[in-house]
Every structure is written in structure tokens, then in C-alpha cells.
């Protein structure tokens, strides 16, 4: 056995790509866990095919999973992978363009047969025609080794072949010195009812590991040191799970049952799926007949004293706007989650975008203001959901929470918070008559919030509706000054929330940055990563990120004016930039990318560098 050298790496981006049937998501997941346990910081991003079940071997059927892990704090799933594992020609065809120059390409040689090559649109075999010259290519007959390794285990050939993803996992585990016990234990637990499959999977995994160790193909393994991390218990979490759990946490911390009413739509369906599993938290989930019914029922539940939540994506947001407007008039707590995707219309349902900001703020007839918050990282989805609930309940208002496809699908390690340390939310139900003349449903408190008196409370019976209401009494009123007063009160209530949110923080280590990058939403990782990187190469750049899109933190103007230039990168055509320009008459520049793809740290490098060298 030749001895292999161990090379140290600071960061690595690996992408597993194969047919939908090849189990790439699972492979990625397992690699992630082994990486996490090693103490690397990491971020991941799956890339599902748009088709439900495309024919095997086709381009449409390619499924991929990317992981970025490092010995330092990282913030994105990575841009160009350093390593690409391609389980078949189609996977190579659709993913190769992203691989870094001279990157490592590991292919399942067995899959490069004529039929598959043809399906992938290759007229010649790329393994042979010299077209892969720019990469370090490793041809590994994964299928056949797997089949051999599992011989005599009583599996059909097809069943045996199915374990080839475990082979790939084993190989990569060896290559990056990942612990094997984590995976072994998981396989044992997962397949404990199917001993044949269990054995085959373990055998394939070991075969992959040993292949790396023994074959002369690979000269060295890599080590990525653990990243320094705060002490605590960690888990890896995807944005959609974190968001759902944040809602559950809001329920626990407020004592209000969650009433999640939604109509399935990619990529928001995940929230419905996740929440429907937590009935033992008294979470009520209702799959409504459409988006309008979904929000209607959520609003009804809020009136009845629960925490109404509805989730959707762009097309559904459009449909909900009329009822959101009713919620604005009723001044009841309500959370509307919009997991943004590429539009207009049906657009590209599986692709990311963040172009619903203006619709969230202004997409309703009349003057219909409400708070808007946006999550910035997968784990931050948890906090932002809690924050949305806090605002909704305290201020008796619908809140729109923006996420997006990229955030929902990608994941990162999350240091689990202490449950008792999470913010408490006091529903502060009205129980007493609040005025000499009886109960006044629109008599406001110091936050301009009105009382929330729920059915069943004696003495507080009242009727509310979408017609303009008289200040204090809530009676219907067509009176001119009252309408103006109410319009202003509704706006003032939302504006006042600015007193109750954290100031905008700036990441500006030296304090002498010339360019401020102002972000919101899922661009956080790309911006933060790039700002740190470019700063290291001498650029004077700072980063601030908005969680609260309405109202803004009180200090935003001061922050913005501190910098010579302000750059606002967005996955839309410049929506936040427009708002900033309008409010402060400040010549904020816009960097936009509307490709259904996240903004990458590399994109930001370019934007920052261009601005700070020119």
C-alpha cells in the first residue's frame, strides 16, 4: 500500500451530481453530517430537478447537492465547486460549467455508455475526446465495484447498483478524512428492518473508502481543520425547517396555538409539510382550497385567538393581497410567509429570486401599510419567524415575512438556542372593558395597538370589518377627517415599530470603509463572504444587512451617510435601492441579478472590486 500524503485545506466546495434516482441528496446529507461532526463550518445547497420524475439518465433528471466546508466561519454554499462528482453523463453535462478551472472531477466511468451519452447530448465520450483537459479527472468504475463489493448478499443486480452512491460517499469520506462511524451508525439505524440493504450499503461505503486508500489514482487526502465555534449544541438546518420551527417556537413562547393555513406551492409547501408533523404542539394545519381561503382561515383563526399564519410563494401572494388588506383594516395579528421564486407569473417555480419586496410593501389597493421582515440565512429563518410573530402579536398587525427558494433549500450549522432565552411574546388579550362607554375595539395602547378581545370573553363583544372605522369606537365611518386620521394612525403604528427593533449593525472592522454594501434577504452570505475576502485584499468595504424592511431601523440614514458609496445588491431589478433613493435622496447604486440563481460571493467580489479600484 502506498502511503498517501495529507494536504491541509482551508475550504472546499464539493458537488455531488447524478440522476434523480442516484440518491445524491442523501449522499450529500450524509457527507454534511460527517463534516459537521468534524467541526467544520459548512453550508449546503441542494439543486432538485424541475421535473417530478424525468426519464433516467436525461438532463432534466439531474439532481445535485453542493457543500461548502471550511476551517473558518463561512456563509454561503460556495460558488464554483472544487470537486465535482458526476454519476452519469447528464450530470457532467449540466454541472461541468460550474467546476473551477483545474478542479477535481470524479466520474462514475461505468455510466458513460452510449445510451447515456446520447441522452445527455454528447456525440462523443467526453472522458475520451480530450474535452476535459482543463480538469483533474478521476475515472472510477463505481457501479461495477459496488456490484462486486455486494456480491453474495442476495441482492439483484439492480438493487446492488443502487448502493453506488454509498460508494461515492465512502470515497469522498476518505478523500476529506471524514469520520466513518457517523455514517455507519446512520446506515445501521436507517435500514435496521432491511438487513440485506443494510449490509450492501455498508459494503459499498467501505468499498469506496478503501478504493481511495488503496488505488494509486489518488495521491493524497485532504484535511480541513475544525472551525472555531462557540460552545454549544449544533445541528445542521435548512431554511424551511428553521422557519417552521421558528413558528412553533413563537407558539411555545406566546402560548398561542399556531393555525397554519396554506395552499401548496413550490417552494413554500415545505412549510406546510414540516408544520403538519407537529400536531403535538397543537399546531393546526389546514390545506385550503386556494390561497385566498388559506389566508381567510388564518385570519379567522387570529380573530378567534390563535396565531394565524399563512405561507405561499409569489403567485399566491398576489391572491392573498385583498385579504391582507382586510387584516390591515382589522388590525389583527397575522403572519404571511412569502418564499419567493422567479417570476413573473408561473416563472421558474424551482428557481430563486427576491423580487416580491415592492409587492409586499405596496401590492395592495389603498394605503395599506404593514411590517415586512426578511430572513438572511437558513438558521436566521428561525429568528425571523419569531420576530415576525412578536411584531404581529404586539402590534396587532399582519406581517409579511420574506424568504426565498435559495434560503429555504440551503442549510447551515445552527447553534441551538436556549429555549428559555427566546423572546417571550405576550398575547395580552383584552379581558376588561376599556372605556366608560363600553368596550372600544379601536382604543389604542402606547404602541398604537388595539385590544385583542377574543370570542368567548364576556363583556367585550364587538364587530369589526373592512369598512373604514371610526377612531376609538370602531363604528363604521365615512367621515373625511376620520379617514385621514385612521390612515395616518395605521401608518404611524407600523412606523413606530422602529423604536422596538435593533439598530442596523455594520460590519466595518476598521471603520474606514468607503463602500457600504447594504443587503437584505438571502444575499447575506454572499455579501458577508465577499466583504471579508475583499477586505483582506485591501478593499475598504463594509456590510450592513436589513432584517426589517418596514420600518427600517432608526439609524439607517446615519449608517448610509457615513459611506462615500452605497451598493445594494438584489435578486431583482433594484427594489430596495429605489426605496432607499426615494427616502434619503441618496445615490445608492444597484447591483442586480435576475437569473433564478443566488448572488454569489464571486459576483460580489467583482462588484466590490470594480467599485473600489476604478
Amino acid at each position: 500500500m502506498p502511503t498517501k500524503t495529507v494536504e491541509q485545506k482551508e475550504r472546499v466546495v464539493v458537488r455531488f451530481a447524478g440522476d434523480s434516482g442516484d440518491g445524491m441528496q442523501l449522499t450529500g446529507d450524509r457527507f454534511t453530517n460527517a463534516t459537521a461532526v468534524l467541526g467544520n463550518d459548512l453550508a449546503t445547497l441542494p439543486d432538485f430537478p424541475a421535473e417530478i420524475r424525468a426519464p433516467a439518465g436525461t438532463l432534466a433528471g439531474v439532481s445535485a447537492f453542493q457543500i461548502h466546508f471550511a476551517s473558518q466561519d463561512i456563509v454561503t454554499p460556495g460558488d464554483a465547486p472544487n470537486v465535482l462528482i458526476a454519476m452519469n453523463p447528464a450530470a457532467l453535462q449540466t454541472n461541468l460549467r460550474d467546476l473551477e478551472p483545474n478542479g477535481t472531477l470524479i466520474v462514475n466511468e461505468d455510466a458513460f455508455v452510449d445510451r447515456n451519452l446520447e441522452k445527455a447530448g454528447y456525440s462523443t465520450n467526453p472522458l475520451d475526446d480530450g474535452s476535459l483537459g482543463g480538469y483533474r479527472v478521476y475515472r472510477v468504475p463505481m457501479t461495477s465495484i459496488t456490484v462486486r463489493a455486494t456480491e453474495g448478499m442476495g441482492l439483484t443486480k439492480k438493487e446492488a447498483e443502487r448502493s453506488k452512491n454509498m460508494f461515492a460517499l465512502g470515497l469522498l469520506s476518505w478523500m476529506y478524512s471524514r469520520p466513518t462511524d457517523v455514517t455507519t451508525k446512520w446506515v445501521e439505524k436507517k435500514f435496521n428492518r432491511k438487513p440485506d440493504i443494510l449490509r450492501a450499503n455498508l459494503a459499498a461505503f467501505r468499498a469506496g473508502y478503501n478504493f481511495g486508500e488503496t488505488t494509486e489514482l489518488f495521491a493524497h487526502t485532504y484535511e480541513v481543520k475544525p472551525a472555531p465555534a462557540l460552545p454549544g449544541t449544533y445541528r445542521n438546518i435548512a431554511g424551511s425547517t428553521a422557519l417552521a420551527w421558528g413558528l412553533v417556537a413563537a407558539s411555545v413562547r406566546s402560548g398561542l396555538p399556531i393555525f397554519y393555513s396554506s395552499y401548496p406551492i413550490t417552494p413554500a409547501s415545505e412549510l406546510l409539510h414540516e408544520l403538519s408533523r407537529h400536531k403535538n404542539f397543537a399546531v393546526r394545519t389546514l390545506q385550503a382550497e386556494d390561497e385566498i381561503a388559506a389566508i381567510g382561515a388564518a385570519l379567522g383563526a387570529s380573530f378567534a385567538g390563535q396565531l394565524g399564519v399563512t405561507g405561499t410563494s409569489g403567485p399566491g401572494l398576489d391572491l392573498k393581497q385583498e385579504t391582507i388588506s382586510l387584516a390591515v383594516a382589522l388590525e389583527l395579528p397575522l403572519i404571511v410567509v412569502d418564499v419567493q421564486r422567479a417570476g413573473p407569473s408561473t416563472g421558474m417555480p424551482t428557481k430563486t429570486e427576491a423580487a416580491d419586496l415592492l409587492a409586499a410593501l405596496y401590492g395592495r389597493h389603498g394605503e395599506s401599510p404593514l411590517p415586512v421582515v426578511a430572513a438572511s440565512t437558513p438558521a436566521n429563518c428561525f429568528d425571523t419567524a419569531l420576530e415576525a410573530a412578536r411584531i404581529a402579536v404586539k402590534y396587532r398587525t399582519p406581517v409579511i415575512l420574506l424568504s426565498d427558494t435559495f434560503l429555504g433549500n440551503s442549510s447551515e450549522p445552527w447553534r441551538l438556542p436556549d429555549v428559555d432565552g427566546l423572546p417571550e411574546i405576550d398575547p395580552h388579550f383584552a379581558t376588561q372593558v376599556n372605556h366608560d362607554d363600553g368596550f372600544m375595539p379601536y382604543l389604542r395602547d402606547e404602541n398604537l395597538a388595539r385590544p385583542w378581545a377574543v370570542p368567548g370573553t364576556p363583556g367585550l363583544r364587538h364587530r369589526i370589518g373592512g369598512l373604514e372605522k371610526e377612531d376609538v369606537t370602531g363604528n363604521i365611518s365615512y367621515e373625511a377627517e376620520n379617514h385621514e386620521r385612521m390612515t395616518k394612525l395605521r401608518a404611524a403604528k407600523v412606523a413606530k415599530i422602529a423604536d422596538d427593533i435593533p439598530l442596523l449593525e455594520v460590519d466595518d472592522e476598521t471603520g474606514d470603509a468607503e463602500l457600504l454594501v447594504l443587503g437584505w434577504g438571502s444575499t447575506f452570505g454572499a455579501i458577508r463572504g465577499s466583504v471579508r475576502r475583499t477586505r483582506r485584499s485591501g478593499r475598504k468595504v463594509a456590510h450592513a444587512h436589513l432584517t426589517h424592511l418596514n420600518p427600517w431601523p432608526r439609524n439607517i440614514e446615519g449608517v448610509l451617510r457615513r459611506y462615500r458609496r452605497v451598493l445594494i445588491p438584489e435578486m431583482n431589478t433594484g427594489q430596495l435601492a429605489m426605496l432607499v433613493r426615494a427616502r434619503f435622496l441618496l445615490d445608492a447604486e444597484s447591483y442586480t441579478k435576475v437569473q433564478g440563481q443566488p448572488i454569489l460571493a464571486a459576483d460580489m467580489d467583482e462588484q466590490i472590486t470594480r467599485r473600489l479600484t476604478s
Partner: protein
């Protein structure tokens, strides 16, 4: 210009409410808000409101346990006149909002008041889904066969050829038969009655209130401004005796003077209006609102083509089906029993986790 009143609060005298003691003695007054009633003089809505307020105390439900949800339309104003909890929603969405109220809080008595346009035009989808789900909501649809509030366009129940503001040359749409539609949508309770027949209306309301699950009640309601006398055949002194087909459980369905006419079973799968004298006794249809099959109720709904002809009134269908909100509560109870009451800490720590100790070094083992 002026504060139109209505809505919001209830005055100090209504403030106390009767409490929720066991022996309630409620009266009409306990359910009437202090708001001035503002329908057009002569509108059938007055009769319905008054009958409802007179009837509702007998249910023994404290007013604070009641929620009214209405849509937009003249009928939508109903909510302001009941001194209960109430939401005046948006056009067509009352069944959806009420679904939320009733599913969140099965302890409440939830009522929807809606119009023919509100329920069947813009709100059609929510209506049929509330019906199939068997949400515990009583839906009273005031059918005046016209759009009242928007001043006189035809509605989905207007007869063909109707001349209205939006159809000066006559409407082209074939109308819905609301009872048939509700039955097609799997409703567990379907009834029809008329605004001015206080006794019949009360009887139907009583049955609807007693029904567990969703109840759909079509109430023919005269809009004297835009569609006067649409139901004269059923309410006119001379005509009503000829045209009202009263459904009573366990009784052969006959009507007209001396029961001269009847509903007869045909061998082609229909029910048909016939002369009682010509119909063998065993072929006179005997009503059974509790029949598990909705077919007889549907056949009754199709005896004639509208309220200008003999029309069945009463409870068409009243069967027991699991109630949506209760099912959901049960599912929560079961899940809680099985999985234990949700523990947030446990949830966060479920699945694969790892621990980093003080030095910032991971302990390197998963806890699952």
C-alpha cells in the same frame, strides 16, 4: 360626511352580557346590538333578522360564544345587528374566514350570513369546500336573486333573460339551483325557507343549529328595491298554498289544497309532481332528510325550475358526518398522546446534533 354608526362596539348596557352560567335566561334583547338597522324600508332582511333574534335565545348559547361572519352585500350588514362577536369580511370570503374561526375554536357557535352573489358568485369555491369539509358553521344565504348592495345587477340565481343594469338586453346565464349545488358539494345539511314565514324559518334555523357540522340554509329574501316579488308564488296569500311543497320527515310529500298534489317516485330515477289521486300510495315519496344517500334530496331540489313554480321548502338533508374542527382537535389529541406534548427543546435537539465544547472543539459524536 357622517359617522354612519353601526359596527364596532356595543354599548355599556350590552357590556355585561349574560355571563356563561348554566341557567341562562336569554332574550331577544341580549342579541340585538345598539346599531340602527339600515336596510331599505320593506326589505326582507328585516324579517329574517327579527325572526333570528327572536329564535336565538332558545339555543341557550351565551352571546359571547357566538361569532357571526358575513361577506359584502346587503346581507353582510347582519353582523352589525347581532350583539355577538363578529367579522364583516370581504366579498365572498366569509366561509373561509369562518372555517378558520370554527376550526380554531370548536367551542364557538359560528354563523355565516351571505347573499346569493357573495356565496355563489365570488364565494362559490369557499362555499363548496366548507360544505364538503363539514366545517361547523351555519351558513344562511339570503337569496334575493339580485345584487342589492351594488344596485341591481343580476346574480347567479337570477332567472335567464333577466333585464338588469348589467344586462339591458337580458341575461344569458343559466342560474344555479343553490340546494342542488350544495348537495352536489357533499353538504351534510341543506334546507330552504322564506324570509316572511316566521314559523317555517324558525323551524329550519332550529334544525340547522342542532345539526353538528355545516348547515346550508337558503332563505328566499325579497329585495323590494331591485327585484320585488321574486318569490310571490311562494309568499303570496293566494299562491303560496299552491306552490309551497313542505318537507316533513316521515311523511308522504303532498301539497296544494287538500293535498291534491304530491311528489311521486318515477321509475326513471326522478321525483315528479303528480296528482295525488292518480298516484299509488307506495309511490308517493316519503321524506327522509336523514337518508344517507343525497339522491332523494337532489331529486326534490329538481322538482321544478325555480321559485315561480311549486318548490320544496324545509330540510332536504340532515345527516351526521364527522365534523372538521373536531377531527382536527382529535388528531391533535392523538398526536399529543402518541408523541407527548410538544417540547421545543426536544424538537430543536431532535435528529443529528453535535456538541462543541468550551475550547471550540467539537466533541465529535452525534446525538440522535
Amino acid at each position: 360626511m357622517t359617522t354612519v354608526g353601526n359596527g364596532g362596539r356595543h354599548g355599556p348596557d350590552g357590556g355585561g352580557g349574560p355571563g356563561s352560567g348554566a341557567a341562562l335566561t336569554l332574550t331577544k334583547k341580549d342579541f340585538a346590538s345598539d346599531q340602527e338597522v339600515r336596510w331599505c324600508p320593506g326589505c326582507g332582511d328585516y324579517a329574517i333578522l327579527s325572526t333570528f333574534q327572536a329564535f336565538v335565545p332558545e339555543l341557550g348559547i351565551p352571546p359571547e360564544q357566538m361569532v357571526f361572519v358575513t361577506g359584502i352585500g346587503c346581507s353582510g350588514r347582519f353582523v352589525y345587528y347581532m350583539d355577538t362577536y363578529g367579522v364583516h369580511g370581504i366579498h365572498g370570503r366569509a366561509p373561509a374566514i369562518a372555517t378558520g374561526v370554527a376550526t380554531a375554536r370548536p367551542d364557538l357557535s359560528v354563523w355565516v350570513v351571505t347573499g346569493d352573489g357573495d356565496a355563489l358568485s365570488i364565494g362559490g369555491n369557499h362555499l363548496i369546500h366548507a360544505l364538503r369539509r363539514n366545517v361547523n358553521v351555519k351558513i344562511l344565504m339570503f337569496n334575493n336573486q339580485i345584487y342589492g348592495l351594488t344596485k341591481g345587477q343580476y346574480s347567479p340565481t337570477s332567472e335567464e333573460g333577466k333585464v338588469t343594469k348589467s344586462t339591458p338586453f337580458g341575461s344569458l346565464d343559466h342560474p344555479f339551483n343553490p340546494v342542488a349545488l350544495a348537495l352536489g358539494a357533499e353538504a351534510s345539511f341543506v334546507a330552504r325557507t322564506v324570509d316572511v314565514d316566521r314559523q317555517h324559518l324558525t323551524g329550519v334555523l332550529r334544525r340547522a343549529a342542532a345539526h353538528e357540522g355545516v348547515a346550508f340554509v337558503e332563505i328566499y329574501q325579497n329585495c323590494n328595491v331591485f327585484n320585488d316579488d321574486a318569490f310571490l308564488a311562494l309568499t303570496g296569500k293566494e299562491t303560496k298554498g299552491l306552490n309551497q311543497i313542505r318537507l316533513e320527515d316521515g311523511k308522504p310529500v303532498t301539497f296544494g289544497p287538500d293535498g291534491a298534489r304530491c311528489v311521486a317516485v318515477e321509475f326513471d330515477g326522478t321525483l315528479r309532481i303528480a296528482d295525488t289521486a292518480d298516484t299509488p300510495e307506495e309511490l308517493v315519496y316519503v321524506h327522509d332528510s336523514g337518508h344517507p344517500n343525497p339522491a332523494p334530496a337532489f331529486a326534490l331540489a329538481n322538482l321544478s325550475s325555480g321559485p315561480t313554480e311549486p318548490t320544496a321548502l324545509g330540510v332536504f338533508r340532515d345527516v351526521r358526518r364527522p365534523v372538521y374542527g373536531e377531527l382536527m382537535d382529535r388528531q391533535i389529541a392523538l398526536a399529543t398522546e402518541k408523541l407527548g406534548r410538544g417540547d421545543l427543546g426536544k424538537l430543536l435537539h431532535s435528529g443529528d446534533t453535535w456538541v462543541v465544547e468550551d475550547g471550540g472543539v467539537p466533541v465529535g459524536s452525534f446525538q440522535s
